[in-house]
């Protein structure tokens, strides 16, 4: 068992998968010599050479489309989009091309590609470098959406995403890259579509993902001291969604809070809350509550930035209202 940073765990996953399968290659801006803005691709160029570690021009739409084309002929490309905000430039290739091909070709071909990117606020990067846009991808049939919270999950999920035969949108969080955690030795594979109960509890279920998992764990620890037993379910992947684990937890505790950083309106939380109310209504002691980002562009100034996304206090307050 090694303790690795989130970014090191991702790096290990890329190394291992590129070693294992010569058809895996990576493309993106500044990922070669420089090793990526967050050092996730560090060392890959030296080990695998420029044929498989491709530094691209700033042309997101086309190099993402190139991943679709390379995937169609049997490669397993991993493209890096520096910020999820920039993924807005590639929506045709992801939504109209990658997500549709297997379906509209009648199963003649698949698109085994991964789009790695990162989102989230917290560094004063302002409105075009801080968004949480997973709901846009979650909404589109044909895509898988993965959002790991810990180094162990980041490693295991990225490896599983690369081996998956469908396009996977793999969304990291910029504030998680330097966080540390245990990554088991040997092959770490975390299946897509399997949530992880990060902390068991009896009174309230917190359903969350990505960095908010850490926020929820902190809130749960504080609430525990007040005698409230809180369960924290880390979804890990949004598509496929592990309904079974969500519903089992909801039925057992009867009280559910869905927590995410993305803006509340049209967020994934609304969909999960509706699903729980449709399928577990009789076992609930109250309505499912959402704690989410505010419906605003993210500002630059740190004081007003931090009130845009849920804090530990917000989560504690939300739970206290329910019990």
């Amino acid at each position: 068992m090694a303790e690795l940073m989130y970014r090191e765990a991702l790096n290990r996953a890329l190394f291992e998968e590129m070693e294992r399968d010569p058809l895996v290659f990576v493309m993106g801006e500044t990922i070669g010599e420089r090793g990526g803005s967050y050092k996730v691709t560090e060392g890959l160029l030296k080990r695998f050479g420029p044929r498989r570690v491709v530094d691209t021009p700033i042309a997101e739409a086309s190099f993402t489309g190139m991943a679709v084309g390379a995937a169609l002929i049997g490669c397993r490309p991993v493209v890096e989009i520096l910020f999820i905000d920039f993924a807005m430039l590639v929506m045709d290739q992801i939504v109209n091309q990658a997500a549709k091909y297997h379906f509209i070709s009648g199963g003649q071909g698949r698109v085994p590609m991964v789009l790695r990117t990162q989102g989230g606020a917290g560094n004063g990067l302002a409105a075009q470098h801080s968004q949480s846009l997973e709901a846009l991808f979650y909404h589109v049939p044909g895509l898988k959406v993965v959002m790991p919270a810990t180094p162990g999950d980041a490693c295991g999920l990225l490896k599983a995403a690369i081996r998956d035969d469908d396009p996977v949108i793999f969304i990291e969080h910029k504030l998680l890259y330097m966080t540390k955690g245990e990554v088991p030795d040997g092959e770490v594979l975390v299946p897509l579509g399997k949530a992880d109960v990060k902390k068991a509890g009896r009174d309230v279920s917190l359903i969350t993902y990505s960095r908010m998992t850490l926020t929820c764990l902190e809130a749960a620890a504080a609430l525990e001291k007040e005698g409230i037993s809180v369960e924290v379910v880390d979804l890990r992947s949004l598509v496929p969604l592990d309904k079974e684990t969500i519903l089992e937890s909801a039925r057992r505790t009867g009280r559910v809070v869905v927590v995410h950083e993305a803006a509340r309106r049209g967020g994934v939380g609304g969909d999960i809350a509706a699903m729980i109310m449709e399928e577990a209504y009789d076992d609930l002691d109250g309505p499912v509550v959402r704690i989410a980002g505010r419906n605003t562009p993210i500002p630059y100034n740190l004081n007003i930035e931090k009130v845009c996304i849920p804090s530990v206090e917000d989560v504690i307050e939300g739970v206290l209202k329910l019990v």
């Binding site: 739409a61 086309s62 489309g65 190139m66 084309g69 390379a70 490669c75 091309q97 070709s105 071909g109």
Partner: protein, 332 residues
């Protein structure tokens, strides 16, 4: 048009400079031009009869491009097609029966009735597929060429797209990428002079679209898109260049749509005089002139007519997709 067709310098090994082109090759090109023409006319009829729905963008008048280009390709080479893609599909070797079934939305179609005309692909021929988004295929084709490089094979990709697509941002991005990575790809820009209804002179201040290639380090060449032999010869050169690892080429093939943008567009905005001039140089007429003394032409036409008749019957007899099976396959 010269009576005797010759391959220019640097031509294919089967036709050294000055030697006539192979008879089988020319007949093959003619077969695909004729089959595409007949196929499109048949589709229009079936559309009017209600057997085909949705959008249908006929390739009428442009057939020589696909036929000439694909004659220069191996089966293992890839093509990426467009919404006006029936000619590409036929010329790359598709079975008319399965094409017709797809366009009629039936289960025996290439895409099991899920794609239709705008999304048809035939992976057995390495046709990666048509596209409903103008320009959407350009990055995909470029990526297939990148994939070839990663795999280390000697395949080549041909990307068909239009003058309209060449005004889309991904055209510039992709040519730039192909240029910098010297990818094994030939961009075939089918300049039919209209982007939906907008004439080329109203959509760009640049009259020579092939000239856009050199700006990205991609050689550009302009050909008469109605002359299948010329299209073949230029494609052959570009394909060999790509196969040798010398990088991409942009071929602009000038042509003219014989009708509106799609079947329900009468094309009233089209320049009647230009249309008449281009129709006088119809790709079928030009190719028949090349093959003037060739007795096999009539036989080829009769064979295509029979194939097409069988394709229509096959399509009509193929079942509609089952609603129950479709719903059962949706995972959540």
């Amino acid at each position: 048009m010269k009576e005797e067709v010759t391959a220019a310098g640097g031509g294919p090994p089967d036709a050294a400079a000055g030697a006539p082109l192979d008879r089988g090759l020319l007949l093959g090109i003619y077969r695909n031009i004729y089959a595409t023409r007949r196929f499109e006319l048949q589709c229009i009829e079936l559309y009017r009869e209600g057997f085909i729905r949705g959008y249908l963008h006929p390739y009428l008048g442009e057939e020589a491009i696909a036929a000439g280009v694909c004659a220069a390709l191996r089966r293992s080479d890839y093509i990426v097609s467009t919404h006006r893609g029936h000619g590409h599909c036929i010329s790359k070797g598709a079975d008319l029966k399965r094409m017709m079934a797809e366009i009629m939305g039936r289960v025996d179609g290439y895409c099991a009735g899920r794609g239709g005309s705008m999304h048809i692909s035939s992976r057995k021929d390495n046709n990666l597929g048509a596209n409903g988004i103008v320009g959407g295929g350009i990055p995909i084709a470029t990526g297939a060429a990148m994939g070839i490089k990663v795999k280390g094979t000697d395949q080549v990709v041909v990307d068909f797209f239009s003058d309209g697509a060449s005004n889309n941002g991904v055209f510039a991005e992709s040519l730039n990428l192909a240029g910098v990575f010297r990818l094994p790809i030939v961009y075939v820009l089918e300049n039919n002079h209209y982007a939906v209804s907008t004439p080329i002179e109203c959509s760009t201040g640049c009259c020579d679209l092939a000239g856009r290639g050199p700006a990205f380090g991609v050689p550009g060449v302009c050909v008469d898109g109605n002359d299948a032999v010329q299209v073949y010869q230029e494609t052959r050169r570009a394909v060999e260049r790509a196969r040798r690892g010398e990088g991409p080429t942009l071929i602009e093939a000038k042509t003219f749509r014989h009708g509106g943008h799609h079947i329900n567009d009468p094309g009233l905005y089209m320049d009647a005089q230009k249309l008449a001039e281009w129709k006088a140089r119809d790709p079928i007429l030009l190719m028949r002139r090349v093959l003037a003394e060739e007795p096999a032409v009539a036989e080829i036409e009769a064979r295509v007519d029979r194939e097409l008749e069988a394709a229509v019957a096959f399509g009509k007899n193929s079942p509609e997709p089952s609603v129950e099976e479709f719903l059962a396959a949706i995972s959540d």
